[in-house]
Every structure is written in C-alpha cells, then in structure tokens.
Amino acid sequence: MGLFFAILGAVCAALFSGIGSAIGVGRAGQAAAGVTTDQPDLFGRVLVLQLLPGTQGIYGLLIGFITLSQIGVMGGSATALSTGKGLMYFAACLPMALVGLISAIQQANAAVASINMISKSPDQFGKSMIFPAMVETYAILALLISILAIFGLSSVAA
C-alpha cells in the first residue's frame, strides 16, 4: 500500500503540473497566434512568452522521476514501503502537483497580457517578460520543497 501512495504522488506531480502547463501554453499560444497574424516579425518574442507556462510540466516530470527512482520503481528494484512512508512521499509530491497546476494557469494569464503588451510596444519585450516570470518563483519554490522532502525521506526508515 505504501508503494501505491508513493507512485500516486509521482503521478500527481507529473499529471497536475502537466495539465496546468498544457492549459497555460495553449492559452498563451492563442494570444501569440493573434499577434503573429498581423505582426509576423514578433514571432520570436511571443514564442518565448508562450513557453513560460510550460516549465511547470517539466518540474512535475522531474519530481515524478526523482520519486520513482527513490522508491526503486525506475531501477527495477522496488521494495515494499510502509503505508506511512508511502504517504510521506505522496505528501512530498503535493507542493509540485498543486502549485504546478495553479501557477501554470496564472502564469499563462500574465503571459497573455504580456503578449498583448508587446503587440502594442514591441520594444518593451524585456519588461513584458518580467510579469509572467514572477509567477515562476512560486513554481520553483514548490519544486524545491518537493525535492528536499523526497531526498529527505531516503533517510527515514521504511
């Protein structure tokens, strides 16, 4: 049962962060396409903004990988875990799962606004990057706490 919860945690981290990123990149992509239709020369700049909400999906995947390798599923050496330790892994994955989902969507909203901003003022690209990038901070914090928790669990008895 412990192994089940640990795998569930890894799946949740990749799943929810991936969903958030898919929604976010899609949303920003619509705005990017709108701007590029009339101003094709802005393609490079809007593409960068479109990709920003995609990072949460990568962070979720990373947490999933680390969790699976820590519990031995990736190396084919999976051993039975106690329910308590499985739940601990699950809890360790939750920051990335939840913050990944929400921050990707919110970052997309900021990216859409920034894409609209550079459609009117292309020379403001630098500033327009800052606003969605600020949201990234919280995804990174969640990534950090999930990583620390997962690695910390390796020293806890099974």
Partner: protein, 321 residues
Amino acid sequence: MADTKYIYAVARVRTHEKDLLDAGFMDQLAAAKDEHSALKMLYEHGWGSDGMKAEEIFSRKEDETWAFMRELLGDISVFNVFFYKNDFHNLKAAIKESCIAGTHPGIFAARGTLDPKWIQDKIDNRRFADLPESMSTVTREATDTLLSTRDGQLCDVIVDAGALRAIRAAGKKSENEILNRYGELTVATSDIKIAVRAARIGKPLDFMKMALVPCDTLDVKELGEAAARGEDAVFDVLNRTPYHADVDILKKSMAQFERRCDDRLIEAIRPQRHNSFGLGPLAAYILATETEIRSLRIILSGKRNHFPEDYIRERIRLTYA
C-alpha cells in the same frame, strides 16, 4: 475567472488598436485649413485613398471593422445590440414607404440584422407577427397610428421607443459588462434628451409615457412627470441621478450634452485597453471606431461649412487610443 474564449481575437484587436486615431491627430485635423487638407491628412494616415469622399472613407472603415469582427468571431450576433438602431431605422422607413404613396430610394440603412426588403415585405403584407418579437407590436402600433393620424412624428416616437427597449434588452441579455453598459447609457441619455426637448416645447405627459423607456439609472415615471412640468423640473430630477454633472452642460447646449454622452461611453470602455480576456475589448474596439468616425464626420463637415476651429474642436469626442 478569465474568459478565455476570445484570447486570439483580443490579441488581434490589440494590434489593430495601434491604428486608432489619437487626440493629437484629431487636433491636427481640426487645425487643417480646409476640408481638402483634412482629407489629405486622412489619406496619409491610411484612411481611404486619393480622391475618396468623406462618406466613402467612413463607409469603407465601417465595412472593414465589421469584416474584421466576422473574421475573428464568425457569428457576430453577439453584437446585434449595435445593429438594432439600423433595424429600427429601416422599420420606420418601411412603415412610411408602405403607408405613404410613392417609392423613395436610398431610405434604408446598411448594417442591420434584418434585410430591409424583408421588413418592407412583411409590412406591405401586414404580416407583423413574422417580425422579431421586439418589432412586431411596435410595428403594428406605429402602422395603425400613421394610418389613422397621418402623424409621421408620432410613428417615429413609437418606433424609436421600441428600438431603445430592444437595445436595453439586448445589452442585458448579453451578460457582458460593456454591452450592458452600452445599452443602459444609450437608453438613459436618449431619455434625458427626449425629456429636455419635450419640456422645452411643452409636450404633454401622455407623450412622455410613450417616448421614455425604462432603464436602471433613471426613474422614467418621475422624469416624465417632471418634463410635463417644465425644463427646470427635469433638471431637479436629474440632479438626483448619476447624471447630475450633466445638468450644467444641458443648460448650455444639446450638442455639448451629446458630446458628453459619447465621452462617457469612451470613459466606460477605456479600461478594456488593459483587459486581455473576454468580449469587452472587442466591443470597445467597435465603439472606439464608431466614435472616431463620428468625430471625423464633425471635423470634415465643419471644415466643409467653414466653421471656426474652436467650434469644431469643442465637438470632437474623446478618443479611445
């Protein structure tokens, strides 16, 4: 929660907003020495091409705006609230064409939701029930009135009230803040104009009941009763409404009040410049273009008739850009 349905459309509108005229350009136009110079400035700004007349340029600009909206949305029925004034204008024209002998070419307005010929056919054959619900009762009433009294003005009042009711209902039905505000402001400012004008020429209370249309920001019963008593009574009532600041403007001139109404609408839609989601920025772009054309029409007509620069300048509307 962000309305994500129109993200692509809003992004394209943002690009097109760069071509909207700003207050500085309007000032330059107002300072042009004559209509020819003003038109030349417009050509250079991408409006029309050499030799085009003002109305041709405006008509083309309106066509381009609606073609752009059709390209973005496919179905533009969400903006029907903007077309109702043309539909009801066509309805008035069709009723008169049907009840008064002779044909009068060029009486119908373009850009309605209904084909004017279809409206004409329904009226000619007295098939009022086939018309949309907002028009059928009004048409019957206006036609009967015109046939029995031969009073074209009374017929206009009935149809105009119907148009305002339709605009208000469409604004509310849209559940969009901007379209709802447009409907409310259109009805409220029309009610105010009707009340003041009616009070000035001493129209009776029965006329007010027919002409004034209920809205959220005015008590039309109170306004109508005040209009029947006189202009000062109307101003007293308006002083207790959100339009209290307009009383001084109304006392000066109706043209100034009309400018104030357009400016109020522009002030209401200006926050949409910073909104990346929803229908609001699209509706705001349409209204901005319409107001821009209104200002240009005033400037060019003023230049054509050799009006002083200050006279023209004080009638130029606020710009969205």
